[in-house]
């Protein structure tokens, strides 16, 4: 199996805040181009990679959705050269003080910055000694106020800037692994498919704006109208502060999710294939909303049978999200085996086990 780590590190080293995914989209496009027959972009910026199947046209298609956008920040106000910020997506404010960021200035400059926690004396009485709301935090670019005024505008994006870090035991840590790790898994799948024959068309999709509105998954599913759809995303890994029933060990296998958001038949197929190919997996259950691209895809157009493949991710929505590279490869491999096993009439065999 190819080494996906260099690619994964490259895509978590660039920004791609929800709504502004172009920097990461460019890298993904370059990586996918030799692996698929064509790469196009949807009207709202999602990437569509088409790998054609061997069946007779019109062929059925499967869409694999991995979102490439990431949570981030945005400049809301500039005071004396310091930047006030607001959230893009579900930011945990507790991770912000002292975090290294990049300000994507309107001038085109990428300004390194740090998120500053003003001393209690400068804040309204009673707020200074607790976790500070985002409104009290500031970004300092190290530039003098005149330079900041020249370069930065209200609305400019701010993204996390810490470099990826490899941890012991095949774990990669950094910002944005939610959900670039899935993009990497889908890339593994495309690489695996190079040596396999598959009847169905495969739409490899890197969606936009999952963290804010699922915009990319809704619109691409509508546009491509696949017969079945699979989302890939992170689930909660066991680790410090997270040991409840909804957490799973890192590096020990991938999650196959069941619940109202997933078609039971597809779920069962994935389980059987995982067992057949000895890919370790665990059952994840979600009682209603899966919180992933699977949610919008299921109800697109006249409805699409949908599944969800997951990998455990530690410290979700922090700049030190951590995943096992092995789990990423396992997810990619299972997707490839699933696609290769699709018979031309698979959709007709989907049944309800009532």
């Amino acid at each position: 199996m190819s080494d996906i780590l260099p690619f994964l590190k490259s895509i978590i080293s660039v920004s791609g805040v929800s709504g502004y995914e172009a920097p990461v989209a460019d890298l993904i496009k370059d990586k996918w181009r030799p692996l698929v027959d064509e790469v196009t972009m949807s009207r709202v910026g999602s990437l569509h990679g088409l790998k054609k199947g061997t069946g007779n046209a019109p062929r059925p298609s499967v869409m694999i959705a991995t979102h490439m956008d990431a949570i981030g920040l945005r400049v809301s106000k500039i005071v004396d050269g310091f930047l006030h910020i607001t959230k893009v997506g579900g930011i945990d404010v507790r991770v912000l003080p002292g975090a290294q960021v990049t300000v994507h200035a309107e001038s085109g400059d990428q300004l390194p910055g740090v998120i500053a926690m003003p001393s209690a004396k400068l804040l309204p009485e009673g707020v200074g000694n607790d976790v500070l709301e985002i409104g009290y935090l500031l970004v300092d670019t190290g530039l003098i106020p005149r330079e900041v005024a020249k370069k930065v505008r209200v609305g400019d994006l701010v993204s996390f800037a810490n470099e990826p870090m490899e941890l012991a035991g095949d774990v990669i840590s950094g910002h944005t692994l939610d959900n670039r790790a899935s993009v990497a898994a889908l890339t593994v799948c495309l690489e695996e498919l190079q040596g396999k024959s598959h009847i169905w068309d495969v739409w490899a999709v890197a969606t936009v704006q999952e963290e804010t509105s699922y915009l990319g998954a809704y619109t691409s599913a509508f546009d491509l109208r696949p017969q079945i759809a699979i989302a890939v995303d992170g689930t909660f890994a066991k680790g410090p502060g997270a040991n409840g029933w909804q957490t799973y060990p890192i590096g020990k296998g991938i999650g196959l999710c069941m619940g109202p958001n997933m078609h039971p038949f597809l779920h069962k197929q994935l389980r059987e294939l995982a067992d057949k190919f000895e890919i370790p997996w665990f059952l994840d259950v979600t009682a209603s909303h899966s919180g992933t691209d699977a949610y919008p895809m299921q109800v697109t157009a006249e409805g699409i049978p949908t599944a969800l493949v997951e990998f455990p991710l530690r410290y979700m929505h922090t700049p030190v999200e951590s995943v096992s590279v092995k789990d990423i490869q396992r997810a990619g491999r299972l997707l490839a085996e699933f696609i290769a096993a699709l018979e031309v009439d698979f959709v007709d065999t989907i049944q309800w086990d009532d």
Partner: protein
């Protein structure tokens, strides 16, 4: 003043990028020894790990020369691994004054091998609204080295932040006080002939000025200059209006101390530094009198008392993963100290 530029900044970068948590200053000590050896007459490492070096003046023998102690602390705040939870997860304690609100989601390096680690936090999705606004105490945090990661209880850890230059500024985890260490090294390299320099690169400042106390005892100098880095709280006031509690401001030059939490700085030396700056047209500022402290607190009261003053390069975001200083402030600090050393005469501290 000797030329200021890349040579000094490169050395500062090297000093900032090593980790030297209080009590484990070896990495900085190594660099200091290497840098100063050709420039000093005598150097020793004492019982606590201080690097103590003497450079005699070069005036004709018999002439009285002032013995000036130059102090900068080698240590920085950080962490110590205190227990193993298994599977690469470790408990830790803070060393020195660190605000826990700076810790969640940060990258660290652990032990002599600088093993990569992260301080993670519970995902926001699994928190109730109360947890989202509550500080996580240190005993609720862990350092995660990855499932097969190994550290030893007692290992030190520090922020993994790399030094960088940005426009007029520098950003680093340990400007406090590598900028002082780099300053004293520069002063030794270009030492004037009129004074004997007693250079103390001290340990354990961040946990109680412990190195400086014994260093002062060893040297028994005529006077001392503690060279450190002090917070600049020069951010805007949230509610608007003038910031009256800025401590120091970036860009205004070296901060001369008048009084802090542990020292009333020697007024002769305060006036002397002020006069030097004014006559050489070097920008400077007085640090707002108030709390906090430097090694001067331990030096001033050593032996029969040592006239002491502190000079600091201002930095924002003290004891956090990234502090910011202005290159120009450091340049002016060096200019002031080079000029001041040349002007020191025994009469300066002979009588009040």
């Amino acid at each position: 003043m000797p030329a200021f530029g890349n040579t000094q900044l490169k050395l500062l970068e090297k000093l900032c990028n090593v980790i030297a948590i209080s009590g484990d200053e070896g990495e900085v000590r190594k660099i200091v020894l290497e840098e100063i050896k050709p420039h000093v007459d005598e150097v020793r490492v004492d019982a606590l790990g201080n690097v103590l070096a003497t450079r005699q003046g070069r005036t004709r023998s018999g002439a009285k020369r002032t013995r000036v102690m130059l102090d900068a602390h080698m240590d920085e705040v950080g962490f110590m691994i205190v227990a193993e939870d298994g599977e690469g997860i470790y408990r830790f304690e803070t060393v020195g004054g660190i605000d826990v609100r700076h810790l969640v989601g940060k990258q660290v390096h652990v032990g002599k091998e600088r093993t990569a680690g992260v301080i993670g936090g519970k995902p926001i999705h699994l928190m109730d609204s109360g947890e989202r606004t509550r500080k996580v105490p240190v005993d609720g945090l862990r350092i995660d080295l990855g499932p097969s990661g190994k550290a030893k209880v007692g290992d030190r850890a520090g922020f993994a932040t790399k030094f960088r230059r940005v426009g007029p500024s520098i950003m680093s985890k340990s400007i406090d006080d590598r900028i002082g260490v780099a300053t004293v090294i520069d002063l030794l390299k270009h030492a004037p002939s009129n004074v004997d320099i007693c250079a103390a690169f001290t340990v354990q400042e961040e946990i109680g000025l412990r190195g400086a106390q014994v260093a002062a005892h060893y040297f028994n100098p005529d006077m001392a200059l503690a060279i450190d880095s002090t917070p600049a709280n020069d951010l805007p006031v949230y509610a608007g209006g003038e910031n009256m509690t800025y401590n120091t401001k970036l860009g205004l030059g070296p901060a001369i101390y008048i009084a802090d939490g542990s020292t009333l700085h020697d007024q002769r030396l305060v006036r002397f530094l002020q006069a030097t700056a004014e006559s050489e047209a070097i920008p400077f500022q007085f640090r707002q009198p108030g709390g906090g402290g430097t090694d001067s607190g331990a030096i001033q009261s050593a032996l029969a008392g040592i006239p002491t003053v502190s000079v600091s390069v201002p930095h924002r975001y003290t004891h956090s993963p990234v502090s910011i200083s202005r290159v120009e402030d450091w340049k002016n600090t060096l200019a002031l100290l080079h000029a001041a050393l040349k002007r020191i005469k025994p009469a300066l501290v002979a009588e009040r």
